[in-house]
């Protein structure tokens, strides 16, 4: 999010330098570990309950494993030492003037580029999997909310 200027130290500077430092450098690391642990737990839970309380399709595992790999690579990018710290930002141009990443540090190359690959694989997989509920959940809820009176609910 920092790369896309959605989350930055400037946003939190009114709360003090210590708070800005915590929100930008410390909290994301802990959130990353928490996110990995949550997905790992869900994966273990699915394995343990398989054939007892649930029957999974292959894409139930694929979606989770793809997200887990992407998250681990992102966390690796965050915790491993950067390649360099440029005077200005390090810009990564995916699509000129549309998708450009502005990074404060040049991240560890292998972690970064593999994270880029898996993020895009994950994005490609969304409409073909149950992850489509990211979008359809809002649409179906909006339609249901609009028609509750019609349905007599």
């Amino acid at each position: 999010m920092r790369g896309f200027h959605i989350w930055s130290a400037e946003m939190f500077s009114p709360l003090g330098e210590g708070m800005a430092e915590f929100m930008v450098h410390t909290l994301p690391v802990y959130m990353g570990w928490l996110f990995i642990a949550t997905q790992f737990l869900l994966l273990v839970r699915r394995g343990v309950l398989e054939n007892r309380q649930l029957l999974s399709f292959y894409n139930d595992y694929l979606a989770l494993i793809l997200l887990l790999i992407t998250t681990i690579l992102g966390q690796g990018m965050r915790i491993f030492p950067p390649e360099a710290i440029p005077a200005h930002t390090y810009s990564v141009v995916f699509i000129p003037r549309l998708v450009v990443l502005h990074l404060e540090k040049v991240p560890s190359f292998h972690w970064f580029f593999l994270h880029v690959l898996f993020t895009q694989l994950f994005f490609m997989y969304i409409p073909f999997s149950k992850l489509v509920h990211i979008f359809s959940g809002v649409i179906s809820s909006a339609l249901y909310g609009s028609r509750r009176t019609e349905y007599g609910i």
Partner: protein, 78 residues
Amino acid sequence: MNGAIALLYAFFVEKLPYITIAVFLVGVGLRTNRWMSAPRDGHGSSVSIFSALKYIILDVILFRTCFTSRPAVYSSAT
């Protein structure tokens, strides 16, 4: 970083995003076609923005009706 890996990494940044968007749009098209070809129940297709937002914010996000619409379920448990 050797040349082959550098080329591969450049591909991830410079070319793959276009492939990603194309694949995503194809997937959205296929999924939309599947939804639109489902049988209709005869109700209208109008969407009320106010009702939709009211339902999403109060019922989905704030769980307004979860504990009030079926009181018998919870009272019988006690």
